[in-house]
Amino acid sequence: MARAISTKRKSVNTAIAGTLGFLMFFPILWILILSFKTEEDAIRAPLQILFDSGWTLDSFAAVQARSDYFKHFSNSVIISVGSTLIGLMIAIPAAWSMAFVPSKNTKNVLMWMLSTKMLPPVGVLVPIYLIFRDTGLLDSRFGLTIVLTLMNLPIIVWMLYTYFKEIPGEILEAARMDGASLREEVLYVLTPMAIPGMASTVLLNIILAWNEAFWTLNLTAAKAAPLTAFIASYSSPEGLFYAKLSAASIMAIAPILIMGWFSQKQLVRGLTFGAVK
């Protein structure tokens, strides 16, 4: 009881957390509101928008009529899920060996992998663009999947490494004693035990890949363009169509938002795994 937090402290904390949460959510809320307005209403003063204007689905209709939502959506799904699965296939063995058969340089390799994330992507845009152009990968889902796999691989390896570290090595040794081959050990013992961690790795990676805008905008034109390009096509330099831009944004983030909402518990559990133990 000595460590009980006083009710006053608690309500202050709740208020602060609530305010922060609202501030973070506000842009999304505002986009949601704008997406149900006409273009004329959308550029009016905030209070007028809220109270004086009506609601409409025109922007959604306009966006749907002008561009092929489903094509962008399926590109996004293919690219984000594909890059995550390929990433996992590379990262599981990598994290396994670093967690269970560490060498003197394991920490250095991990740092080196992370350091690749410290370089701004634009630093390698030209070489990658040229490689893509020369190999015919520009505007292909395959090429984009590969680039996103490489971009997110360090994060996947880091996360899996952290989860694997939590698994007692003796359990894997027991599997070895029980006659499991390396493949069986990873498949039947390690992977099921690491499911919570892997699930949150997968979720986070899909979200990151879904929202990735630098490479998807620079390496695609039409065929392979995912939803990020779909949004970008509404921010034209001649004048912004706020309502349509908002409607496009809502359509683009809705799937991932819904997925995130339903997997919230899993995600939080995975991300705080280890911290609580």
């Binding site: 003796e170 359990i171 027991a174 599997a175 070895r176 004693m177 029980d178 006659g179 081959s181």
Partner: protein
Amino acid sequence: MGRITLEKVTKSFGDVEVIPPLDLEIEDGEFVVFVGPSGCGKSTLLRLIAGLEDVTSGQINIDGQDATDLPPAKRSLAMVFQSYALYPHMSVRKNIAFPMRMAGVPDDEQKRRIEAAAKALNLTDYLDRRPGQLSGGQRQRVAIGRAIVREPAAFLFDEPLSNLDAALRVGMRLEISELHKRLETTMVYVTHDQVEAMTMADKIVVLRAGNIEQVGSPLELYKAPRNLFVAGFIGSPTMNIFDGAEAAKFGAHTAGVRPEHIEVVSPEEGYWTGTVGVAEHLGSDTFFHIHETGLAETITVRAPGDVAYNHGDKIGLNPRTDLVHKFDEQGLRVQ
């Protein structure tokens, strides 16, 4: 069959040699116990036999076959870990079935063996639980069940009982001994525990810093420890050891006498005399810790429970002179 021989086996971690060249023979069906102080390399030696660590040099044979480079899965040995190392995501049934599944044992045979093991280990009611829902003793039984169903050439145990409370430990000790009698399979067992070593072993291997100090039956080690280290390590309470003039009277550089081989008498009748410090009454026995004997700081004596002396009493001590152990300058036993 389960005959294991180690020939000039060494193990180094980096520059540190944990096991210097070591030879050991474990006969088929034998219960061999490794004892020694913490960090002396007991677990390392067991893991070398298991194949979980690679030897730095030397050869390990299992049933006459060179197994040095075989992976653990191919050695047909089963291991029971101190932490139990059960698969937390599988039911007890699946845990026990796992080695058979890996070996491709047919389903009905798996079922038969699981049921037999569960019955022998009192696990029948728990087969569908997860390890997390079991007590420590039950978990350890599952680990043993998982080891026996695959009918290995030998069992390896690394301090399997040290996470259990005292009462449970006694029970499990008996169960493992009975299992050994029933299966007649080679068992190699690592422990810290004196009593486990003495009561379970056919053969005890005393290790110090990776060296084998002595190999022998529990009674051989008790009656004729080869050196001072073994003398001090085997037996509880530990042997009283003294040197100087008193030892010279027995014709030794250093002499030792076990607490149970000293009789407490009145001061006038005693070969030695001393003052009672602490008296530990266990009921059946009383351990007297005696000071001012001129032998060593403290001499421990094991007397029957009804011998009553108190703190500060002057008493006499009579050693069984035929059971005094004698050692030379190097600490080696002299006859």
